[in-house]
Amino acid sequence: MSVQISKASPSAEVVGPHRSGFLRTALREHKAAVAGLAVIVFFVVLSVIGPYISPYSATAQTCAVYAPPSAQHWLGCDDGGIDMLSELIQGGRVSLLVGFAATLISMVIGGGFGILSGYFGGWVDTSLMRITDYLLVIPDLVLAMVIAEVWGASLLHVIMVIGILEWTSTARIIRAEAMSIRERVYIKRTRGLGAGNARIIGRHILPQVGPLLVANTVLTVAVAIYLETALAFLGLEDPGVTTWGTILNNAFQRTAISSGAWWAIVPDGFVIAAVIVGCFLLGQAIEDTLNPRLKVAHLSVRRWRLRPLIGRGEDAI
């Protein structure tokens, strides 16, 4: 009996070393992940040192309305006569802050729901997953708009709205992982040795699902930044705060397109896209590293195809 058990354990051991260096592996195996990480690091560093390198104030008028790019104002000026470059740097600070803060909230909720649900199973699982299901089926943007309207426009509310909405898929993934870990023999042994639930979750489950949580975090940051931009573009954010989304909203409200002021829209759209793509590349690479089944074989034609929505391989739809 004990021999059989020890035969079953290698699967856990194989995962173990593989996972410990997951970031390094991901970066080594996926060139795109390096680019993604570089983009993220670039914008994070830019946000941190932003106030020191920003050429002008991001709130005060320093040039003419919709002044085109010039030697003084590299990216031109927006509809309020504010230097676009300074505004992009400042907007990035806030947008990234919103993205990371909201993701933190959603990771805590999603990780917590997933682990509790997967580990305990039974009625805990049923009730937590029903809540998850409800939130999963409601379109994010619509619910975010409603909540943002009801609570009123402020940065904190936007962070909370996004955080509350974006944890559902994380919870699902973590739950599945927790369920499988729960059944592993060493967990059963640990319990046999008298460890309580808290200890098992803290010492064994959490470290195991950790990398998966990180992969999800990176992917969720992209979604959070996107959602923040969308909310701000729809005018649901405090107009007194500069974010990449409010920059777009201002340009849109004040006829930047028909005025030919591309510099009020294009650079902003570009940085949003860059960060989202960066997060996506890195997150995907980590996910691929952690889950070899997602990996595409070198002969496969699936490389550039969209991932199936449900299921993998044969049963994909």
Binding site: T59, Q61, V65, Y66, D79, G80, G81, E149, G152, A153, S154, L234, G235, L236, D238, P239, G240, N249, N250, F252, Q253, R254, T255, A256, I257, S258, S259, G260
Partner: protein, 559 residues
């Protein structure tokens, strides 16, 4: 004259809440602009295609709210009188009129032999029926038009060409009122005015609409397009154009692009940021000081909820007024197309605006002093504490304000208020929700709002918004005092213009003293049209006017 709130600093700036639907418009319009079965350029060449962003909300005058709806009514229905480009009252359906010596009876002589577009006779009886109906149901279905018949006791037509209006007291602005209310065809509408008159609200007045004005409405798709065709039976001078096509856009960008590419002949309410583009594209841009203002409203109800009752304190209101950088708003938000705001009666109304009321200067230091004096100490986070709670206020922002330069104005105000330790938190709402939020709990719960009024030359409308009677309809501050109502009644019946002017000045000073409205700016009305058209005057802030048929009678192609 009482005017409906247009929910926008300029007519047609409000755009409705949705920005997500944009397609499918151009096709519909191309099809709609074809009068005849065969759609060729010859058939549409003499149609003026006008673009706007504030759609017609209803073809029923008892239901409609948006100013573009009223502009359509003016162009399809007769009015007794109208306003000319010099802002003088001139004949419309009534060729001449007299006032009795006591000022209580007005006799209008209407144009003989007039017909509705369906061939039925258009007489003074239609006018009498319209006014009588409004009077009869003014506490109910016709309430939105009741202001036009204030103090009117009866409207009778002793013969088909004579209309006699009897008032319970002399009314100073009868002609201004009569330029704003349109006459409806009795033979169409009478069947809906039976019983309690509720039927008046359910009639959709579908196209083709039986019309008496220079145009008939032949096609209408709610929120999208309206097509007006020249009415061959019109009693007045026939317009030069064959028709007027109206198309409504969700975004300024789409509208401006349509104008630049020749898919429109003219647009109403051009955003200040578009002026340079349009001029560069060779379009004719006209701007005029508009009878409109943008404002920040602060709850003026003395009985408001305790957690923001300090807003009634005159020191607080004055401090707020001084925290507003009006010059920055005019420079950045309006790009110079407007003036800093002062009195609630805009200077464009001429002699009705009190010139001694100047814009409150931007002076955060003084504002801070006032708040210190009031005893509201600076708390943590640099937000002052008033009566135990932080001075942080929710500002209701209707969609009509945030779509356009309103968000920029708000940023400037918000930055100014921050300097005096007051936090402003915007709350976005659509227009009707914003109205309800103001009236909620008998004006006790709202704190502040950003909005605007679009007015006419006669000051009666604006002054009436501050009366107790206007509460829950157009009174947006919750203000209600006996003295104001007394002055309002006095000016309404002052037949001597000089006396009335004095009372109107007195009222403006009272409003300025109490900082009832923090008037931000008087935005210019800006319109643009293609150089192939000419003679399209702007009257009271626009060519597509609710008080005059003249602009679209005179407009014609160049050459």
């Amino acid at each position: 004259m009482r005017l409906r709130r247009t929910f926008a600093p300029c007519p047609a700036r409000s755009r409705g809440p949705s920005r997500l639907r944009r397609s499918g418009v151009a096709v519909a319009v191309v099809m709609a602009l074809c009068f005849s079965a065969a759609c060729d350029s010859a058939a549409t060449r003499n149609v003026f295609r006008l673009g706007g962003t504030e759609p017609i909300d209803s073809m029923n005058p008892f239901v409609a709210v948006n100013s573009s709806s009223y502009s359509v009514f003016e162009n399809i229905y007769p009015s007794l009188v109208q306003v000319d480009p010099a802002l003088k009252t001139v004949p419309d359906f009534a060729g001449s009129w007299q006032m009795s010596p006591d000022g209580k009876t007005w006799t209008f002589h209407t144009k003989p032999g007039a017909k509705w577009s369906d061939g039925e006779p258009l007489t003074a009886a239609d006018a009498a029926w319209t006014f009588e109906t409004v009077i009869k149901h003014q506490e109910g279905p016709t309430g939105s038009l009741a202001g036009y018949v204030a103090y009117m006791e009866s409207a009778t037509a002793p013969d088909p060409n004579t209309l006699v209006l009897k008032y319970s007291r002399p009314v100073a602005n009868v002609l201004a009122q009569m330029s704003g209310i349109q006459i409806l065809p009795e033979h169409i509408w009478a069947r809906y005015a039976v019983g309690n008159g509720k039927g008046l609200l359910t009639f959709t007045n579908p196209a083709p609409v039986v019309s008496g004005g220079p145009f008939t409405l032949v096609k209408y798709a709610q929120g999208r397009i309206a097509l007006l065709k020249r009415n061959p039976r019109y009693y007045g001078p026939a317009p030069h154009i064959d028709g007027l096509g109206l198309q409504f856009f969700d975004t300024d960008d789409a509208m401006i692009t349509a104008l630049k590419s020749g898919r429109l002949d003219g647009v109403q309410s051009v955003a200040p940021t578009s002026v340079a583009t349009l001029k560069a594209a060779g379009l004719i841009v006209a701007s005029a000081a508009g009878a409109a203002f943008d404002d920040l409203i602060v709850n003026a109800n003395p009985k408001q909820a305790a957690d923001h009752r300090e807003l009634v304190n005159p020191l607080v209101r004055e401090a707020f007024d001084r925290a507003i950088d009006r010059n920055a708003i005019v420079k950045t938000a309006l790009l110079g197309f407007g003036r800093p705001g002062a009195s609630i009666i805009p200077p464009s109304t001429g002699h009705w605006s009190d010139p001694t009321i100047k814009p409150t200067p931007y002076d955060p230091a003084a504002a801070n002093r006032f708040l210190d004096e009031a005893g509201y100490r600076m708390g943590p986070n640099k937000i002052r504490i008033a009566n135990g709670h932080p001075m942080s206020y929710t500002v209701i922002m209707p969609a009509s304000i945030t779509n356009g330069y309103g968000a920029r104005s708000f940023q400037i105000i918000q930055a100014g208020f921050k300097k005096i330790g007051v936090q402003l938190v915007p709350k976005h709402m659509d227009v009707s929700a914003a109205n309800e939020a103001l009236f909620a709990k008998k004006y006790q719960s709202f704190e502040a709002a950003m909005w605007g009024f679009s007015l006419t030359t006669d000051p009666d409308g604006m002054l009436s918004y501050l009366t107790c009677r206007s509460r829950y309809s157009l009174n947006d501050t919750g203000y209600c005092t006996k003295s104001w109502d007394g002055l309002y009644a006095k000016q309404a019946t002052a037949m001597n213009p000089a006396v009335r002017q004095r009372i109107v000045y007195q009222m403006q000073q009272a409003a300025a003293r109490e900082h009832l409205y923090l008037v931000l700016d008087y935005p210019d009305s800006i319109e643009a049209h293609s150089p192939s058209w000419t003679d399209l005057p702007m009257i009271e802030g626009g060519s597509f006017s609710a008080t005059s048929k003249i602009p679209f009678q005179t407009v014609h192609r160049v050459g």
